[in-house]
Amino acid sequence: MSDYRIHGATGEWEVVIGLEVHAQVTSNAKLFSGAATAFGAEPNAQVSLVDAAMPGMLPVPNMECIRQAVRTGLAINAQINKWSRFDRKNYFYADLPQGYQISQLYHPIVGEGEIEIQLDDKDPESTKTIGIERIHVEQDAGKLMHDQHPTMSYVDLNRSGVALMEIVSRPDMRSPAEAGAYLSKLRTILRYVGSCDGNMDQGSMRADVNVSVRRPGEPFGTRTETKNVNSVRFVMAVVEQEAKRQVAVIEDGGTVVQETRLYDPDRNETRSMRSKEDAHDYRYFPDPDLLPLELTDDFVAECKASLPELPDAKRHRYETALGLSAYDAGQLTLEVETYQQFEEMLESVARESGAPERDVAKRVANWILSERPGVLRAAGVAVTDPRNTVAANTALIVAVSKGVISGGKAKEIFQQYLTSDIDLAETIASNQQTTDTGAIEAAVDAILAANADKVEQYKGGKEALFGFFVGQTMKAMQGKGNPQLVNQVLKDKLG
């Protein structure tokens, strides 16, 4: 249970949050026409006669959009409705050529499901299940531009008719953190499934945030809906600001009005969209141009078979089968790119070093999560850099795990490799650390002889100097001394 509270003048308030997330379905063509969906085309280039609602034009659904919605539903353990139907939502706006949006009100394609969120990524117990009410498929609208002409707005219909999934949660969230975690998790799932690219800055995911406040334990209050919020951070800000605003309204003796609001990130506040409030009556009715959508068992089974391992299952497997910590497993499974690299590298390292995956998993995880990011940063290189290959990473990890070079040396070499044209295998070989006990003893003897005063201090109880001797020895050996052997010899010599 969340203990997030708004501390009002008259006491504590609980916030209740539900999210309606519009996710653009990944498909080549639009939901009801063959026009392309790619982002960033010339205005009205990706518009068919159907999208422009020319007289007599008719919709025919794109199978891929239906498939992606079903796969998404399966990924959140939702009920798949084998009989669903499209309805028309009627209203007039310049970005809506038909004068109605084809959506699914009465019989959505996906029914109830759930998503588990984790509030503290270091605490595997901090989970909460958020209910999903439904997912339905609908058309996106076009876009209006207001700043191109003094007296006109310009209409671009490229987005008109692109397929969206509207994913409606139950009002199960109780804090900005929960809302943020839910949206992040949903995004992760959609990206795993491949049903939405999750690019929030391109508008591929937008959330309508429903917020109300109440005294803890009392019935729900009146909610407001803040439209088109396009980042996790903004969703959290909307919840916080809107809850505070509502508490202030109520405590001032007013009542919260059920209305549509807009978030202004520059001023970090929500404001009423009164311009859109003129007596909405959408007159939903089944679209007579379309027939009921009936899914076969085979179709659903194929959708199910096509699903990848999902985030929760993957994290669990990383912990149990690979022996990773909950934190590492969580971090590795957050983004598709991360787990893909991890799994590729894990497979490659295990193969190259002839060890079971479980034995090298921790080393690969550490490399990806903590060691490599620093090197990439220092080298000023992106993770997508062409030199950052699985083969190169594998060679370094294997060299460390076989004791050929030290972990520190590996990072050093990797940075050189990323920023200059060195031959990786040669560099590793030439930096091979020595396990020649004689050479190490000679080096240690020289260091101890040159630092007789410090040896005295050490023997007098200043044990922290041990690290100094290690460092000096390694330096003298140009980093090639095997660290375990250096330690051992030093300990022996210092008695």
Partner: protein, 494 residues
Amino acid sequence: MTDLTDLGVAAIRDGVAKGDFSATEVASAFNAAVAEAQDALNAFIVTTPEKALAAAAAVDADRAAGKPLGKMAGVPIGMKDLFATQDVQTTAASKILEGFKPKYESTVSARLWQAGAGMLGKLNLDQFAMGSSNETSAFGNVISPWRRPNDTAPLAPGGSSGGSSAAVAARIAPAATGTDTGGSIRQPAAFTGISGIKPTYGRCSRWGIVAFASSLDQAGPMARDVRDCAIMLEAMAGFDPKDSTSLDMPVPDWEAALNDDLRGKKVGIPREYRLDGMDPDVAASWEQGIAWLKDAGAEIVEVSLPHTKYALPTYYIIAPAEASSNLARYDGVRYGLRDLPDGAGLQDMYAATRAAGFGAEVKRRILIGTYVLSAGFYDAYYTQAQKVRTLISHDFTNAFTQCDVILAPTAPSAAFALGEKSADPLEMYLNDVFSVPASLAGLPAMSVPGGVDRNGLPLGLQVIGRAFDEQGVLNAGLAIEKRAAFSARPAKWW
């Protein structure tokens, strides 16, 4: 040489194929007839003589080259102005689409051109196909070629395909396309003494036809006889992947299977169609039709369609509801009329454009449709109507367990005079009483001439068949046609 404008589809097709005359001669003859009649009948909104000639020239060239000719080769036809025709103005008889020249061709018209037909012009109709008399067109009434004896009062050609019926009856087109939402092919055919068939819902693609009521709209041919209808329907019908409601079924060779021998067939007479106060001439024509079908070998059985009286109110909820949404796209943004008063905002522009662009009947239906779909009324009106529609459809299913086709009048009277019913919308709606039930059930239905009334005006007999059984409908129509030997035609006064 015979007057080429006296010929129908089959005769023109066969004559062109045999070389009795050229397609160009046919097109020229009809172009001339169209031009001569246009001022008097106002059957066309635009004429396209050059299109008719170009299509004819192509057919003549194909024939000369020995290429195979299409089903409609050399036949110039009228195209109801509800079908989008590329680069030719398409208006649905509304000011809101005046000047609109589509950059696409409707599937049905494209199929007809593919089959070798040519276009004489775009035919007038009731605005957005809403009407039963052709008085709601923004481009003027169509005048029926028929007149009462010793009376020059203009008569209605029926509606909404009134330009089509008038043109075929006046012999200025051998055939024309129609569309039927609640009777818009059958009633005008009946009013003008021609034949017309509305096929099973989904036979003809709706792609590129300006929508009125999507779940009811269906295209079909209007021609002088049953054979011509069969030929033209073959050219129009067929699966279209662009229309979700299109039937993915092969198109039968209806013409080849025409047969007026009805032995072994049962014809149902629906008891509920015998209305109190029925026009005695209509009742007599119906009785005559029964006798003809008996003569053709059919067994007559009485059937019951118990929800018949609810068909019209059901239709007048569903059709306006769908229309109110289908016509929302006429907003002055992407095509057609834009009325932008000084200082008007977007929503003001919509309201002004739609007020200026839509006619009174269209507005009336949009308002009814908007009302029945609005919050709080949806279930009481729309959902209830769709349930009653299910019952009406069940009625037919039950009746067709006892019979193969149903025979009924097409309309409750012969053609009325223009202005006679236009004052009271409800009275006009009642004209569809016999045609609407088959529309609600999506069934094939045809009107063929079934004699004349006391004024010498044509009356239509309607044959309704099972879903997909256009052949049964055409055959029964043919049996009536052969026995009726309908030969009345309007005297040329234009």
